[in-house]
Symmetry: C2
């Protein structure tokens, strides 16, 4: 009987498990659902709803104050961000979230005003994307935890999954990178500097992220996208994920670095490529577009006020390379941890 | 701008907020979704899926180790319980859960064996009810937190909601009460006693709860039920909730107390009625049945191996009364906290 073999909740580990270790271990222990429309390993889960090709799209992403809420972020902003994180995953698949449930772990010390700020932030994040918070649960926790779960309905054939990139496809993004990473570095008081105006722009990008839902829905509608992923784990990590799942490679010829991030890098002696590649929390979409449909895809994004930026091409050889004026070097698979110390 | 008015995450409250206060405050701050099929205030949320009367049914319930995992419960059991808690809410509405997502807050000290036990427990709980764990997210937390989110599809007209009881309806339950409360009291080492055999039965009921999903589906199929609720907050609390939402009252003439709970009460000088009424975590269904369809409802539950137990009747006068041989007294609206010292 498994219950007797289980360790007690207090059993100590030699060292903490990493997120990927945790996910892999969990997956090995869970019974796979037969014929699931979209299972583990993509930005969302999807389950068939019937014969007309519709699927229920589901996602949960958890915000933990200690690791996901930088200094200076208000409770209202933290709660809003907890929604945005999840909407961004729906955006990457081209699915409209309809309702949100929220699981709240609340510290005993939280005041009614603090809770009201959380509720208002959740509501603001949901309403920005035409979604409603309709239920949830709450419990006492020692740190603030906000797990948002989104639900929506989509056409299965319209979902933009991670695994479909083809050699020759255009590699593209929906916005520039590096602002959020620069903002986080600045916020950590590790001696980095910026002008007041630059500081404000960098910190705004951290405190008030936006999800590219309109762009994702437009791209899905265009039928031009072969693969797509949300960039919250950083551009380099995304490229490796699209590479692995599509069994293709990429050559990035135009790094999509925001001007403010470039300015921050120069001021502080940081590598601009590092800021663009190894950051995180940009909530942009990283996608591949069928070359003959590029103009259609770009026009669809323009029509909703966004911008589709080509940054390179998809190759057959499974390497993820940065092409710096003909000199190619490997983009390694790592994320934001790189900047820690 | 709301973000500037928000208090900092560290702002202290004068006293901790209660769960009902938290829920009421949240609701006041959230934009209501127009035309939602089942909104706040029932065991689940439901959203219309289209013209054929189908709804998406959603639920999240959060297990926090500190408050929801009694001493002696293994990680495998705790994870399984996190699923059962949610399945019980689907059971009360007569909806089959199809998939589960899980948000895991994990202490740094958790070992790979501990995590494997959690994954196995989640899988076991889901598979017992023909459901699959298909996704989730994880973050570092100081206490173990398992928030399970269930999704399923149901016919809107078949959902057994809280608000439909009519005067004259039979009040019924799907099983006996008090075992879990007796088990929790015994476990707290406050001087309560029981024989080894009785202890084992009481603790088993705490560590290995079961949800009445087969019963709930059968009852929904019978069309005989006018209102239903999951009893996890205790029988007294459920009756008041059905009373309030249905604008009816109840007279309980046969308290559904388990024989083992009665034995425990006698051994320890506790009121048997208190054990039946003011406990919790029984995960039974408490429901009202149209009197002319009673036999149909009872037969449907029998057919899946369960038992439908009549305990009283629905009245027009909105009082919740215990009828002890003709002597009637009020059943007060309180839960398990009553037993805390």
């Amino acid at each position: 009987m498994p219950s007797e073999k289980s360790p007690s909740p207090n059993e100590l580990a030699a060292k903490p498990l990493g997120e990927h270790e945790i996910i892999n271990l969990m997956r090995r222990h869970l019974t796979p659902m037969p014929n699931i429309a979209v299972g583990f390993g993509d930005d969302v889960t999807a389950v068939d709803l019937g014969a007309d090709g519709k699927v229920a799209v589901l996602k949960t992403d958890m915000l933990v104050a200690k690791t996901d809420v930088p200094d200076g972020m208000t409770l209202w902003q933290a709660a809003r961000k907890a929604v945005i994180m999840n909407v961004s995953d729906f955006a990457a698949k081209g699915a409209q979230p309809q309702v949100a449930l929220v699981s709240l772990g609340l510290p005993r010390s939280l005041s009614p005003e603090g809770l009201a700020a959380i509720a208002d932030g959740l509501d603001a994040g949901a309403r920005e994307y035409n979604c409603f918070v309709v239920g949830g649960d709450t419990g006492e926790a020692c740190d603030l935890i906000i797990a948002v779960e989104l639900f929506g309905v989509a056409q299965k054939g319209k979902l933009m999954l991670r695994g479909g990139a083809q050699p020759g496809d255009v590699l593209a993004v929906t916005g520039l990178f590096g602002l959020q990473t620069a903002g986080l570095l600045l916020r950590q008081n590790r001696g980095f500097v910026a002008s007041i105006e630059l500081s404000r722009e960098l910190l705004d990008s951290v405190y008030m992220p936006h999800a590219r839902l309109a762009e994702g829905l437009a791209l899905s509608g265009s039928g031009a996208v072969s693969a797509s992923i949300d960039s919250s784990d950083g551009l380099a990590w995304c490229l490796h994920e699209l590479s692995e799942q599509g069994r293709v490679g990429f050559e990035v010829s135009d790094l999509p670095l925001a001007a403010e991030a470039e300015e921050f890098a120069h001021l502080n002696g940081l590598e601009t490529t590092d800021l663009a590649l190894y950051g995180g929390e940009e909530y942009e979409l990283v996608l591949t577009v069928k070359p003959d449909l590029w103009r259609k895809a770009a026009a669809a994004v323009n029509a909703v006020g966004g911008k589709l930026i080509p940054i390179g091409k998809t190759t057959a050889d499974k390497h993820v390379l940065l092409d710096e004026g003909g000199k190619k070097r490997e983009i390694v698979a790592r994320g934001y941890e790189h900047f820690k110390d």
